[in-house]
Symmetry: C2
Subunit: 438 residues, 2 copies
């Protein structure tokens, strides 16, 4: 009877990468992590499985349908669908052990059983930073968050991007100044302008019951253009008598000023009064980040200011500001657009040691010494022909090969081959270490 095999496959919507891509992916994740850490953000790691009542405390969300929920024994449990809810739960649970202001980052997988479609993943990495306080939180924090994002995208190699910034208070203040009662719905419509266009937004606003004059005012307002300073000036010149508006304008001015102090070039951040963010959660500053040359892929990094992080778990008001990079989707888009630096190699290895004849013991000692000098290296351990060994280095694009025959064991002068140029050098192990470390 023939053996039955189970076809090896993954579920749709779950990303899995081959080595060359995985290495690029991890590089980006490392850049995110190191910049988060450089800003003094503390690592956090919460469980992937939580009690369902914790995750769905907010309720009535799109997430209710998408959540991976199941029972184990008598427990109603679910997989986390974002990192914000676990962060809220963590902060409430461990409040007395934390020092405020509390800055944390978390990088981890989250799960959403979305309808399977291109560019949507059911398991994906989120990379979040937040700063929270048990009381007032200075507006300067709202300027620091985009400065961290700037340093990340610059290090990844995406120079043409813009962090778009707005303040909910400005929009809410303006709407209430216009006498509009259902401001939240207006926000939701405005938020769609990049997707559906200005005309469709007009239409939806009218359907909402706004008269032509009000719609015109809103359209003109969200379309205010210019440099950051020009937009701030235009907003001031509107002389809108509304406390929320004034507060929001003051906050936005400070955020814009301090982002400059944090070293973000003017070309990488811009006030955009169309940015509203769908979630009710946000109460002040809001961010989106767009690639200049690829507006169609939408925001690659979003967030904002909120006033009550953990209101479902504690009566302590935790104010905060944060931002999130959806790494899996971002990576998949950048790869598809071909704007990631190509990784030539399916290996991290810098040096392959190739033993010829009975030189395995010494070859192993050489690799030991390379590793002690933090050089990623391996010995070709299999008993194959020389060409097969070199072809392994070629396939993985390992840049250097050390060839060790019996002569080399005696002389301790080794042959180093540069696989890119084909050049060969006769060098001592110390000389090789210095050359390869460059």
């Amino acid at each position: 009877m023939e053996k039955q095999f189970i076809k090896p496959s993954t579920l749709p919507g779950f990303m899995e990468l081959l080595p060359a891509d995985q290495i690029v992916f991890n590089n980006i994740m490392d850049i995110i992590r190191s910049n988060y850490e450089k800003g003094g953000f503390i690592p956090m790691d919460t469980p992937i499985i939580e009690k369902t009542e914790i995750l769905l405390a907010k309720g009535g969300q799109e997430t209710d349908k998408q959540i991976y929920r199941f029972t184990k024994g008598s427990n109603d449990i679910s997989l986390r669908f974002d990192l914000t809810v676990p962060f809220a739960r963590y902060s409430a649970q461990h409040m007395s052990d934390l020092t405020f202001p509390f800055r944390r980052y978390q990088i981890g997988k989250v799960f959403r059983g979305e309808r399977n479609q291109k560019g949507r993943y059911r398991e994906f990495y989120q990379c979040d930073i937040d700063i929270i306080n048990n009381g007032e939180l200075s507006i300067v924090n709202d300027a620091e968050i985009p400065s961290i994002i700037y340093s990340i995208f610059t290090e990844i190699g995406l120079s043409s991007f813009k962090i778009r910034i707005n303040n909910r208070k400005i929009l809410n203040g303006f709407f209430s100044y216009l006498g509009i009662l259902n401001g939240v719905e207006v926000l939701r419509i405005i938020d769609k302008v990049d997707k559906i266009g200005m005309e469709a937004v007009c239409g939806e606003l009218k359907e909402l019951g706004l008269d032509e004059a009000a719609v015109d005012k809103i359209i003109n307002f969200i379309d205010i253009k210019g440099s950051n300073q020009e937009i701030l000036n235009s907003l001031a010149e509107l002389n809108i008598e509304n406390e929320d508006f004034k507060l929001g304008l003051d906050e936005l001015s400070k955020v814009i000023y301090y982002i400059g102090c944090f070293g973000v070039p003017e070309k990488n951040y811009i006030i955009d009064l169309k940015i509203a963010r769908g979630l009710e959660y946000y109460t002040g500053t809001v961010y989106e980040t767009m690639l200049d040359d690829y507006p169609n892929i939408g925001s690659i990094c979003s967030g904002g200011r909120y006033e009550d992080l953990a209101g479902h778990y504690t009566n302590q008001k935790l104010q905060g500001v944060g931002i999130s990079i959806g790494l899996t989707r971002l990576f998949s888009q950048l790869r598809e657009l071909g704007i990631l630096k190509e990784n030539a190699s399916s290996s991290l290895t810098k040096v392959l040691v190739v033993p010829m004849g009975e030189t395995m013991g010494y070859s192993v000692e050489v690799v030991k010494e390379l590793r002690e000098n933090n050089i990623i290296s391996e010995v070709y351990l299999e008993n194959n022909k020389f060409n097969k060994k070199l072809s392994y280095a070629n396939k993985l694009r390992i840049p250097f090969v050390i060839i060790i025959g019996e002569e080399e064991v005696n002389s301790k002068i080794l042959t180093l081959k540069d696989m890119n140029t084909g050049e060969q050098f006769s060098l001592s192990i110390e000389e090789i270490i210095n050359k390869v470390k460059l």
Copy 2:
């Protein structure tokens, strides 16, 4: 009506750490990762959710009961319970895209719905390395794997540990030389000797139907002691005429020789003929790792050689050797025993910049410069009294504070306070960077 709060809590068996512990945990994970990478192992990241038929292809395991299994839509899906099965599936699925020998590492969470008890986790990190080949795989690989483990545990700071090594072929060959037919069951009993003691093992062997003479021979055999070379000599002197035994002894001799070449000190590896490993999966070399001073916690890192990694998914034979560190359990044990270097700090931050008066803009510029020089730093952004600001640095044990008043803004000579000694220095920003980088 009073607002109802949901009590913030995690499920039992799920580890969650406060910042100071999380930092220590991440340090250990970084050490594991960097040593895996230094050995030329390629990162792999497989989905946490897989098709149940993939994960349970082997069947009949303890894992069937422990697995987190559920349905979503029409899919029967489960959370991975180890990293070996996903590795097998990945290797079979992507075989034509991989270069062999293929060395990979994976660090990730796995899930087992075990009975809740001390030291057992339902969600925990495994850190695996394996080297596989589509054909013969040299025995030298079996020596390299423990050398990587040696470098990890040494860097973590655990100097008193022993990697115990055996070879299944030796045991199987010896049993079949004794005429024992049910060798697998004998293996399972022997494997328990550290837990239940030699006497109980004797008893169980007799229950299995072995006569007193055979039991004595087995007990004497697994109790052979001495230096590695002495044990190898003793085994050779037994003159056991069995091909498996001879092959195993030859393999073990080579492994012991090459571990030395890889630089592992003799005190950190030892042949132990009692090591059998429960799983049928292993066919040659097997490893366990014990802390000399804490034998009770059992093996902190185990693995071995196998002949057919992905037999459920492909007819290609993938030979391999690998090892796994159960990081969550290890961390929890080391912490409990107090043998981890204490982390004094709940923060990674090295420098806190404290603005006094109207100096926020310049303070932000200072922190920008520190970060550009890769110094983890933050500004105290909140509007609080000086003492409150210093107390933040004290609580988080941030080692340096830069105090910036209006005088400092003008002179560009800053006050650096060493929080450990209380000393204060007047320095330029460049001087501070050099001092703090040390």
